[in-house]
Symmetry: C2
Subunit: 422 residues, 2 copies
């Protein structure tokens, strides 16, 4: 191999020209035998088009069923949670990662219990919520099997005004660090919706997952400076341990209509209370809504869903910063909060995940009783599990699922306009 300053990129260019030149040059090269009937496991030594080249170089395996980072997702209703007849006055959403402690699974989540359902920013008061996560607290539950849960009650109540989170304490996630437990949370100091969904992140700690919890009463992930992408919101703090440090991923909403975007950044600290240094390459994930990651081999994998050009993907960053698409899937869990056995073990051999909790928002499909419910998801994104049922290549929906995505009145009007060329 010829060594040049360009290194392997040069080889890539050669393959590119080799791969297309034979045809583009008018077929001057001898025509090879056709592609084989049995798909080669490794990249075959023959000219390949760009798409074929990609399945051998961009994914763990050329077929989804062999790709440890491809999975379908299965959903199961949880037992043990009461929603007050689903009238909108009780909501549970945005679960934390699940941890296992003394033989029990623990999960924390946003719990809203208000006299009325959310009324919007215009009508909200000190007791009437603006949004589903306004005037909320962090509650927790435990389970023996991950399906049936016992709600244990409040973990983080709203602190007194003007402490961070006095308006609402939401969207928490757990860190276990040197025997101590840390709950990072969105610390609202105004009702969501007043401008946007603005808040920084604070943290509380305890010596046991059952508490009691001590508020740090400080902002550990501050909003960015004016004009910076995360100037208004730091959402979905999601701590993992890597390379002896705390790697905390978070989401921010930025931009203005019609170009509001959601992207995800990384902040790193040596101490759970900070200071956290925001990564200079932020945002490191350009798509998705909530943050959902897990150690995988030496790197980190992310579930990327809902928003952006690369929604419905699983992405992977070997260096925990530069994320590549590792799989394209569908019907992914929202606010996915997996059970990550090696979240805090500082592993260089991440094993992956098989289940977790997520949420359904607007459970009733009715704005007047808006609330969310927790749900369990299962998958096979684990190197230690081989479940072919999770590796089926597609979801088969019933026709009514498609018909529900019908044309709007405005669209029908446009078509009735009679532009035959449309």
């Amino acid at each position: 191999m010829r060594r040049t300053p360009v290194g392997f990129v040069f080889v890539g260019a050669m393959l590119f020209f080799q791969g297309t030149g034979t045809w583009a040059d008018g077929g001057t090269a001898a025509s090879p035998a056709a592609f084989p009937f049995i798909l080669p496991e490794r990249k075959p030594d023959r000219p390949l088009g760009a798409a074929m080249e990609r399945i051998y170089t961009k994914y763990e395996a050329p077929q989804p069923q062999d790709n440890e980072l491809f999975s379908q997702f299965k959903y199961t209703e949880l037992k043990g949670f009461d929603y007050h007849g689903h009238d909108g006055t009780v909501s549970r959403r945005d679960p934390s990662k699940v941890i296992l402690h003394d033989g029990k699974y623990y999960v924390w989540y946003t719990h809203r219990q208000t006299p009325v359902p959310p009324q919007g920013a215009e009508l909200c008061t000190d007791t009437v919520p603006s949004s589903d996560w306004d005037l909320a607290e962090v509650w927790y539950a435990t389970s023996d099997d991950g399906f049936a849960w016992e709600e244990q009650g409040v973990a983080l109540a709203r602190p007194p005004r003007p402490d961070p989170g006095w308006r609402s304490v939401t969207t928490t996630d757990i860190l276990v660090w040197k025997g101590r437990y840390y709950l990072y949370f969105q610390a609202f100091m105004e009702a969501s919706g007043k401008r946007g969904d603005d808040c920084p992140v604070s943290v509380a700690w305890a010596d046991s997952p059952d508490g009691p919890w001590t508020f740090s009463n400080r902002i550990v992930i501050p909003n960015g400076a004016e004009g910076e992408w995360d100037q208004y919101s730091i959402h979905d703090p999601y701590p993992l341990v890597h390379d002896g440090r705390i790697y905390l991923y978070y989401k921010s909403d930025f931009g203005e209509n019609p170009h509001k975007v959601r992207m995800q950044g990384l902040a790193i600290a040596d101490n759970p209370l900070g200071p956290f240094a925001k990564h200079p390459l932020n945002p490191v994930i350009t798509s998705g809504h909530e943050t959902s990651l897990f150690p995988f081999k030496e790197g980190v994998a992310a579930l990327v869903y809902k928003d952006g050009p690369e929604h419905n993907t699983v992405q992977y960053a070997k260096d925990w910063v530069n994320f590549e698409i590792a799989a394209i899937t569908e019907l992914m869990p929202w606010a996915a909060a997996p059970y990550v056995p090696d979240a805090f073990t500082d592993t260089w051999d991440g094993r992956g995940i098989t289940w977790g909790l997520a949420h359904f928002i607007n459970y009733n499909d009715d704005w007047k009783t808006f609330h969310s419910v927790l749900v369990r998801f299962d998958c096979d994104l684990s190197r230690d599990l081989d479940d072919p049922e999770m590796k089926e290549q597609r979801v088969n929906h019933r026709p009514e699922v498609y018909y529900r995505q019908g044309l709007s009145a405005r669209q029908r009007e446009r078509m009735a306009g009679g532009n035959r060329q449309e």
Copy 2:
């Protein structure tokens, strides 16, 4: 810019090192200001992570709503087709591209009308179908608006044994070439399911879309030689006109369980009756199920769905051969057969598509009355349409859609096994 044999690839390598080196080298470069609050329309001159680099280089625009090759899909029930009470004895599936002729839209499709629903390869006879597309004919329908259709009856009846298609004439597509009409079709000469779904492709022609049709009685796209990827099946012939020639894309099933794969190839001819030269880089699309393409700018775009590592994508090949992912979407139409106004105009300025027909298979969710129905889809994959409702970034499904993807009995048994680490 320094000129080297590697050209722009060299520049790409520089950006790569620029994009990751500042952090990987321990932050030796001066820390830049954070990413801006307003997402730049063009790639900003600052260090970017791999994911951010990608949204500026791999897609038409950094955000889906500005990407002409991103769309959601809306579905509308068609009027005018009778399915005999949906008892499984009448099936319509695999529509052709839609064409406009004398002010009317035309579509051709696989029509099965048999005494009983499909019974499988073991039980099939000369009148009992093995599969939904066994013992079928090509029928056609016309419409003024694309929503209400008038079925015109048979276009291609099954020819006498042993002519190509004697067992079944299915999965047709239309070519208009020098004032004449050509229907390419799957020419079954044994019942589908005997070994696999094996057939070559034949063609019939007419001077009017209303026929009468003359069978060429020849195989125009033959199966590959033994051991080649397309040795058994040539499916979904899909002709377009490009560069003065006929570019016909097709699908083949190959490999063996559990690694059966579906990929798509290209065959090119100067004459509708052939000979067609298969492209040496076949398969050119590695994912998807049926073929669904349309000219776009100087290249061709493909709807890629159902199967493979890159399902749920829209792909684009500037050179009609080397396909790249242009968008990731969801709930795509199956057997999508768009109305492509410039399918046969030999355009170098393809405008895109806004609607077409597709099918739902197993309409009843019941194997005993298995049959398929045609459906209309709408989208905005057109450079001449700007419909924000089609550019919403995600489909919001109801919880029951997720719960329908439940754990199987086998999976529940595995979990009850009590592996706490799962």
